[in-house]
């Protein structure tokens, strides 16, 4: 009773081309989900780069101006610290601008930052809509819904991922927690949270953008000043999500990465076979 996928060389008696060996694949991601997934890469990058340029004009995290430098921006302090302590950055020409030169379009680019931010924000809303439509048409939304058991299972997966490199180094056994769903609980939590964060980023963005006409929206988040803080920290969800997301997709293998491009996967465990529609 092996649970492995059928050998590729197996003769396929149901194929329309009897001489061709059949391949068993599962439909994993709808076309619209795949497109909107990849479009998020340039759009979110544009939003973050322009967003930090906008942040530069009036940082949320400020302190009393330094008597020597006049600096009041915590992000500039971090840049100064980096240039003082990180090897290779000691001769950086403008330490207070380090963060803005590395994580944004650059300092002093408010007008352009705003224009790019609006452009990317409208594309982001459009793309988010396409994603949701793809989830509904493809039925993928059901795989993303949180379950009651998710908290414990997600912790189990987290423990697995954290312990994995050590177990490999020690050449010990480190079994993957079992699950019989499309995603494990940690994936599900992450893939569910990111669109939710997207929704809140859009809502807080509108609250900052139209604080008078949509003042009720800012009030929901605790007022205009608070909503700017919300919007700033929501950005970190994407950054904190993307890093393990990219590491894990490469760790998981080619099939997972390919499935987000072609839509199908050859991992047919835990699935049912339906007849070929072609």
């Amino acid at each position: 009773m092996s649970r492995s996928r059928p050998p590729d060389g197996e003769t396929n008696s149901t194929s329309t081309l009897p001489e061709q060996p059949g391949v068993l694949v599962v439909r994993k991601h709808h076309l619209l989900v795949r497109w909107s997934h990849w479009l998020n890469v340039p759009i979110l990058l544009g939003l973050i780069l322009s967003g930090i340029s906008i942040y530069w004009a009036s940082p949320i995290y400020q302190h009393k101006p330094d008597p020597n430098t006049g600096n009041f921006d915590v992000a500039a302090d971090i840049g100064i610290w980096i240039c003082a302590h990180v090897p290779g950055q000691h001769h950086y020409s403008s330490p207070p601008d380090w963060i803005y030169n590395h994580m944004s379009l650059g300092p002093g680019m408010l007008a352009l930052g705003l224009r790019l931010h609006w452009l990317c924000a409208y594309l982001f809303m459009l793309n988010g809509t396409v994603y949701v439509v793809g989830l509904v048409i493809g039925g993928g939304w059901r795989s993303l819904l949180p379950r009651r058991t998710d908290l414990l299972d997600a912790l189990r997966m987290f423990r697995y991922y954290v312990g994995f490199p050590f177990a490999k180094l020690a050449r010990g056994k480190w079994p993957h927690p079992l699950f019989n769903t499309k995603y494990n609980a940690l994936q599900r939590t992450a893939y569910f949270s990111v669109p939710v964060a997207g929704f809140f980023s859009v809502a807080t963005g509108w609250a900052i953008h139209k604080p008078m006409q949509l003042h009720w929206l800012a009030a929901l988040f605790g007022g205009y000043n608070a909503v700017r803080v919300w919007h700033f920290w929501l950005m970190w969800i994407y950054i904190l999500f993307v890093v393990p997301h990219v590491i894990l997709v490469f760790a998981d293998g080619w099939d997972t990465l390919r499935s987000m491009i072609v839509g199908w996967s050859t991992r047919v465990e835990r699935t049912e076979v339906v007849p070929n529609e072609q």
Binding site: R5, S58, L145, L214, H215, V273, V274
Partner: protein, 307 residues
């Protein structure tokens, strides 16, 4: 035989796949009855490898083309300084870039225009909620010498005349309204302040504009640039916004006549617009049918600035 092998490899199946149709039941989940929100098993499809290969190749080419388009788009849209930092030495500036970004800005302005309603007022606050308001002259506060001879000039009136009013005319002819509202700067900071002044709408009623007028050009001739040289400030304001009941020509700040810092003796206070439309020390208002130029729109900001 092959079907049986496959069935062995897929636990939980009780019907041999004939590959032909509806008799195949979904049995791979524990519960036979699916709730609406319950996850469905992914349908596995048996397919010939060659069409699958063609389809995959097509998908990779299309997505690859999409990735190249995104990179080209970034090169087209990003500012030259940013590209330089990424090691792009070639000049990527093009007139198309400005045009494209301006189109995006116009869409956003249209959205802002659609959100505006003359009947929707902005939130007002109590005196205990007032916050400090910084003088955004950025060190280039003008010389107060202009104040004694200050006059407000109105042009583009239905009467065809050019009217000049001093502060005493304005304060005696019009009723004064008070409001504590938030002033929001394009930079992101904001301040809640207590203002008083006459309604722009009242001024428009007393001195009607030409009938086809849709815009007001609001000017301050007492503005200075960062190095302290004269830098006349001009701004476009749509008359729909000028008629908003909370759009004031403010004469008082925190219960006192406006100080030099806040645009003595008269400033525009238009809380439904960004701070940059709230011109200090207004010297001239000109009504027109055509949209007048705008100081900050010429510097890459939006023209409408409705918030």
């Amino acid at each position: 035989m092959n079907n049986e092998e496959r069935d062995d490899s897929l636990q939980g199946r009780d019907t041999p796949s004939t590959g032909m149709g509806p008799e195949v039941k979904s049995v791979s989940m524990n519960k036979p009855q699916q709730s609406f929100f319950g996850e469905r098993p992914l349908p596995a499809i048996e397919t010939a490898p060659r069409p699958l290969r063609y389809q995959s190749r097509r998908d990779f080419l299309v997505f690859g083309a999409g990735a190249l388009t995104a990179i080209a788009g970034a090169g087209f849209l990003l500012p030259q300084d940013t590209l330089n930092r990424f090691g792009v030495r070639r000049n990527m500036d093009s007139p198309g870039k400005e045009w494209f970004l301006n189109q995006a800005l116009r869409i956003d302005d249209d959205v802002a225009g659609a959100l505006y309603s003359v009947n929707r007022t902005v939130p007002t606050y109590t005196k205990s909620q007032i916050t400090p308001l910084k003088n955004n002259y950025n060190g280039s506060t003008p010389d107060p010498g202009y104040i004694p001879g200050w006059k407000l000039t109105l042009d583009g009136l239905a009467s065809g005349l050019s009217i000049s009013l001093d502060i005493r005319n304005l304060l005696t002819r019009f009723s004064v309204h008070e409001q504590i509202t938030r002033l929001v700067c394009v930079e992101g900071w904001s301040a809640i302040a207590w203002w008083a002044g006459l309604r722009f709408d009242d001024l428009l009623r007393a001195y009607p504009s030409i009938s086809q007028a849709k815009w007001a050009r609001v000017e301050s001739s007492v503005n200075l640039d960062a190095s302290g040289n004269p830098d006349p400030y001009f701004m476009s304001l749509d008359l729909a916004t000028a008629r908003h009941p909370q759009t004031l020509l403010a004469t008082h700040f925190s219960g006192q006549p406006l100080t030099l810092d806040h645009g003595a003796p008269l400033r525009l206070l238009v809380p439904v617009k960004l701070g940059l439309k709230n011109v200090k020390a207004v010297t001239r208002i000109t009504y027109s049918a055509e949209e007048p130029p705008d100081y900050w729109a010429e510097r890459g900001y939006s023209r409408y600035d409705g918030i």
